[in-house]
Amino acid sequence: MNNTLLVTLIASGVAYGTPLLFASLGELLAERSGVLNLGVEGMMLVGAVMGFWTEQRVHAGPVVSLIVAVFVAAFSAACMAAIHAFLVITLRASQIVSGLALTIFAGAAGLSSYLGNDLNLADVPASHTFHAVFPSGMQNWPIVGPLVFGQTPLVYASWVCVAAIAYYLTRTRPGLNVRAVGESPAAADAMGISVTRYRYAHTIAGGAFAGVAGATFTLAITPQWVSGITGGAGWIAIALVIFAFWRPELCLVGAYFFGALQALAPELQARNISLGPTELWTNAMPYAATIVVLVLVSWRGARRRLGAPAALGVAYVREEA
């Protein structure tokens, strides 16, 4: 039962979709406030390396050191996001260019790799990792066992984050303000909402989520450090935000779908099922599907209803007419 293709696929989708989910929730917050950050991959890698470093150096028992590690990962990636925020909000640099520059600065050939090297993190196994917390009996229950009880605490944390962000964006005043800032900064400004402050806060918070996403790799999925360990997940996360219509609950579904797609190629091979050039289409699918969704959301009327921030990518400058 639990070894059927569908159950294993969804279980892997949940496991491998979790970093995508964290990263896309962060990118969603930034984009909702009108800031596009293409540096997700770089921020994730910095979070991944700093999280791993903390876990190696903090000697305080598994629970404490892992929790501290996740917070350090979030903080360090948030610092990276702050650079982007400063450049695009205060200095009004192009969001696209600054995000790409952040990827070069922090990415696999930049800061993250340098830190991993100087802190001697390569080729050492993790001392503590996140693993399933429920008794193995429960993990073997049909269907819900692998899907729910066989997951790590980070997965449960991501569910809490989804609910919290969904609540925040739809039910709280600051959350509604963010949407106003992303939709029409001028109108938000006229209402007395500080566009700059909101954009800074959400870009930086977005970075923190990317950091947790990175730490999911080094502390749970593949518990080791090697430069470039996120393997392009940051770019898929950017696609995912759109695929999920900028909505946190759909990010969850999309993340698990994309996660399952990544696990599909090996799964089919192991079961001797051939579906054409699997490697090509399972890899290209997340991007192709996102394009289709993008076209759907850009149909007139749909865009507003589905929540694409109208002012995404546009710097807000009050003084200019």
Partner: protein
């Protein structure tokens, strides 16, 4: 006391030159601090960097190799960004151009020395491949209003997977299938000899050769300049870039303009792909550890931004960034991890990006806060 930033009505010429230079210098100073902090003498490091980029034997040749694709992708980004069409798909368009360019060369090529017809066909095919790929994002933008930023980005990955597929996961027309070497590791089929692009030796002793692609990039820069400054099309495109409303009022056909700008942008990137095949690799490079690791398309956007989307400046900046890239390889080593090179490059990029503000805006120190005048952003 607080700072206020206001837009300059006119951008003084000297500022346009001085600010980027000062920003680069600032970046080097900050990077020098990083070098000092990690126990490296900045002067020696920079001398080594400069040496490896432009001075030592053969370095200029390598810098040209690194700069040529950057010039193409930089021009591709510049032409689109000018019209506020944010084509960040030069990466994928370059792959597509390399696929179609290679196909033309493999199909039409034969023995003998470089044939102008075969090379011309490769150029056309490369442009067509890149333009076609860019037109997907262009058409979606023109007809559905879909953000080209995101579609062109997504298409980069699709193109990359197709490129790898052609060489690694299938026995396609582009893959070498004959001979012992071909069985050992997947490689592209080598171009016939008359499809290999010529290079002109500039300096025999230094081994500096100007690849045909570098020349084509310069020609493309001139053509773009003429297009934007001397034709009605260019004028309309610029009006459109400034304000869609005004352009519509003036009777400019927005849809057609978006399509043509994306196609031109893609064609230039595609030409860069054909140049990769014709000038340098002489076969389709589908190795995930090859062309796709270079990220020329993304770097081209940074090049275009630093050049402020001016075609001539793009060529110059591409040369400088190409030099920096090339030199980065010489700096890294047993006592200098490669990541630190990326950090230094990133610092320089950030400071030049931030410096842009000073060109476009005037920073004032005001004693009393100015009365806020909420006005809609354009």
């Amino acid at each position: 006391m607080r700072f206020t930033v206001e837009r300059r009505l006119q951008q003084p010429r000297w500022l346009v030159v001085a600010v980027p230079l000062a920003s680069v210098l600032f970046g080097f100073v900050v990077a020098a601090v990083v070098l000092l902090a990690t126990g490296h003498d900045p002067v020696t490091s920079y001398r080594q960097l400069f040496d490896a980029a432009f001075v030592s034997t053969g370095s200029l040749d390598q810098t040209l190799i690194a700069a040529t694709p950057l010039a193409f992708t930089g021009l591709a980004a510049a032409v689109a960004f000018r019209m506020r069409i944010f084509n960040i798909g030069a990466e994928g368009q370059l792959y597509m151009g390399s696929i179609t360019g290679a196909a033309a060369g493999l199909y039409l090529g034969g023995r003998g020395s470089a044939s102008p017809w075969v090379i011309a066909a490769m150029i056309v095919a490369g442009c067509a491949g890149g333009a076609a790929w860019a037109s997907i994002a262009g058409a979606l933008r023109a007809f559905f209003g879909t953000s080209e930023i995101l579609t062109s980005l997504m298409l980069n990955y699709v193109a990359g997977y197709i490129l790898t597929y052609l060489i690694f996961q299938s026995e396609s027309y582009w893959r070498q299938t004959k001979g012992f070497n071909a069985t050992v590791f997947p490689t592209g089929k080598p171009l016939p000899s008359n499809a290999v692009w010529p290079a002109w030796t500039l300096h025999t002793q230094g081994g500096i050769a100007l690849p045909l692609g570098a020349g084509l990039a310069a020609v493309a820069a001139v053509l773009l300049w003429v297009l934007y400054r001397r034709t009605r099309f260019g004028f309309e495109v610029q009006v459109l870039g400034d304000s869609v409303g005004a352009a519509r009022y003036a009777g400019v056909r927005t849809r057609r303009k978006i399509l043509s700008v994306m196609a031109i942008s893609g064609a230039i990137a595609g030409l860069g792909g054909a140049s990769q095949v014709g000038d340098f690799s002489h076969s389709l490079d589908g190795d995930p550890n090859g062309l796709q690791r270079q990220g020329y398309g993304y770097a081209g956007i940074v090049v275009a931004a630093l050049a402020r989307y001016n075609p001539f400046a793009v060529v110059l900046v591409a040369f400088l960034i190409g030099g920096l890239d090339n030199a980065g390889n010489s700096l890294q080593g047993a006592d200098f991890p490669s990541g630190r090179v990326g950090v230094i490059q990133g610092i320089i990029l950030f400071s030049t990006l931030g410096g842009e503000l000073l060109v476009r805006h005037r920073v004032r120190i005001a004693r009393t806060p100015q009365a806020p005048a909420p006005e809609p952003a354009s």
